[in-house]
C-alpha cells in the first residue's frame, strides 16, 4: 500500500513538474578529457560535436555551450545545456607549450588565452545548475585544483558528479579518486571509448533531472 502511495506521489509530481532546462558545466584540470566527454555526450544525443581535442594542454581556451540536449536515461528525460570549459590550472607557462614544438610567440599567445579561459570558466559557475568534474584516473587526485574546486562546489551547494576518466588505460585507478572524495557520486568512465558512459547518463538523470 505504501509503495503504491509513493508511486502515485511521484507520478503526480512528474505530471506537475515544470519542464526545466538544467545548465551543466564540465569542469576539471587540463587534459582530463573534458572536451572528449562533452563531444561524447553531444554526439550520443544529437550527432554533433562540441570542439577539437588535443594532447597539448589548454586546447579549449573559451567556454563552449551546447543547448537543448535531451538525455533519456533511467526512465526519465532530462533536457540539458552543456558547457565545456577550459581546464582549471594554478600555473600556466608558455615554456610548457614550447616543449610540444610550438614557437615562442604562439606559445605565449596560448598561455594568455588559457589564463583568460580559466577566468571565464570560473565566471560560468554563477549560471550553472550542476557540475560534472572530470578527473584523470591515471593521475593523483590530491591536487590543489581538485581540492579547491570541490571545496567551492560544496560551499555553493552545486550538485556534483565526479567522472573518473581514462579507465581504458591500465594504470587508471578510480578507487583512488573515490577514497580521496568519498562524499561525492563518482562514475568511472572512458570518454574516449565510451566505457560505462550509460551509468554516467543514469547519474545525470538522477542528479540533474
Amino acid at each position: 500500500m505504501k509503495k503504491m502511495q509513493i508511486r502515485l506521489f511521484s507520478w503526480i509530481k512528474k505530471l506537475f513538474k515544470k519542464d526545466r532546462m538544467a545548465k551543466i558545466g564540465i569542469y576539471g584540470p587540463p587534459n582530463a578529457g573534458k572536451t572528449t566527454l562533452a563531444n561524447r555526450v553531444v554526439r550520443d544525443w544529437t550527432g554533433d560535436a562540441v570542439g577539437p581535442v588535443s594532447h597539448i594542454p589548454h586546447e579549449t581556451r573559451r567556454a563552449r555551450r551546447r543547448e537543448g540536449i535531451t538525455i533519456e536515461a533511467n526512465g526519465t528525460t532530462v533536457s540539458l545545456d552543456i558547457v565545456d570549459t577550459p581546464g582549471l590550472a594554478t600555473k600556466i607557462d608558455f615554456h610548457d607549450f614550447m616543449a610540444f614544438g610550438m614557437k615562442e610567440e604562439e606559445a605565449k599567445r596560448r598561455a594568455k588565452e588559457a589564463t583568460e579561459g580559466v577566468i571565464e570558466a570560473v565566471k560560468w559557475l554563477e549560471d550553472l545548475d550542476g557540475v560534472i568534474l572530470v578527473m584523470d584516473a591515471t593521475e593523483d587526485p590530491f591536487t590543489q585544483v581538485n581540492v579547491t574546486v570541490i571545496g567551492n562546489m560544496e560551499a555553493r551547494h552545486l550538485p556534483l558528479i565526479i567522472a573518473a576518466n581514462k579507465i581504458d588505460i591500465p594504470e587508471a585507478s578510480p578507487t583512488r579518486i573515490r577514497s580521496a572524495f568519498p562524499q561525492h557520486t563518482l562514475v568511472p568512465i572512458s570518454a574516449l571509448e565510451g566505457q560505462n558512459i550509460e551509468t554516467l547518463y543514469d547519474e545525470i538523470a538522477n542528479r540533474f533531472g
Binding site: A89, T90, K91, V118, I119
Partner: protein, 124 residues
C-alpha cells in the same frame, strides 16, 4: 679581529704591540685584517635562503592577487580567490606591483546593486 703580516703571513691578535712596532719576524709594518669565518659569505646558505624566499613568494590561497603575471606568457592563478571573489586583482612579477581593473570592479558592483534593487522592488 686578528691581523696578518702581509709579507710573512704571521698572525697577531688585535691590539698587540707587534702590530704597532712592526712584525718581529720580518720587520714589516703592514698588516691586514683577517675576517672571521662567520663573516665570510656562505654561498650554500644564501642559495638555501633564496630558495625559501622564492617559496614564500609562490601564490597561495591567501595571496591578495587572483592572477600573477610572472613574465609575459607565464601566469600563476589563485583559483581560491577567483572562485570566491568577483573582483580580479592582477599581480605583476613577484608581487611587488598590483593592478586593480577598476572598470571591472565598478561594473561588478553596479550589477550587484541592480540585482539588490530589483529584489527590493519585487518584495514591495
Amino acid at each position: 679581529m686578528p691581523h696578518r703580516c702581509i709579507k710573512c703571513h704571521t698572525t697577531y691578535e688585535e691590539g698587540t704591540a707587534e702590530i704597532l712596532n712592526g712584525c718581529p719576524k720580518c720587520g714589516n709594518n703592514k698588516f691586514e685584517y683577517i675576517k672571521e669565518e662567520k663573516d665570510e659569505p656562505n654561498i650554500g646558505k644564501i642559495i638555501e635562503e633564496t630558495h625559501v624566499t622564492q617559496q614564500n613568494r609562490k601564490m597561495t590561497p591567501d595571496s591578495v592577487e587572483s592572477v600573477r603575471i610572472v613574465t609575459p606568457g607565464e601566469y600563476e592563478l589563485n583559483l581560491d580567490s577567483l572562485l570566491k571573489k568577483e573582483d580580479i586583482i592582477l599581480g605583476i612579477r613577484d608581487g611587488d606591483r598590483y593592478i586593480v581593473p577598476l572598470t571591472t570592479v565598478f561594473e561588478t558592483h553596479s550589477k550587484d546593486k541592480d540585482k539588490k534593487e530589483k529584489k527590493r522592488e519585487t518584495k514591495q
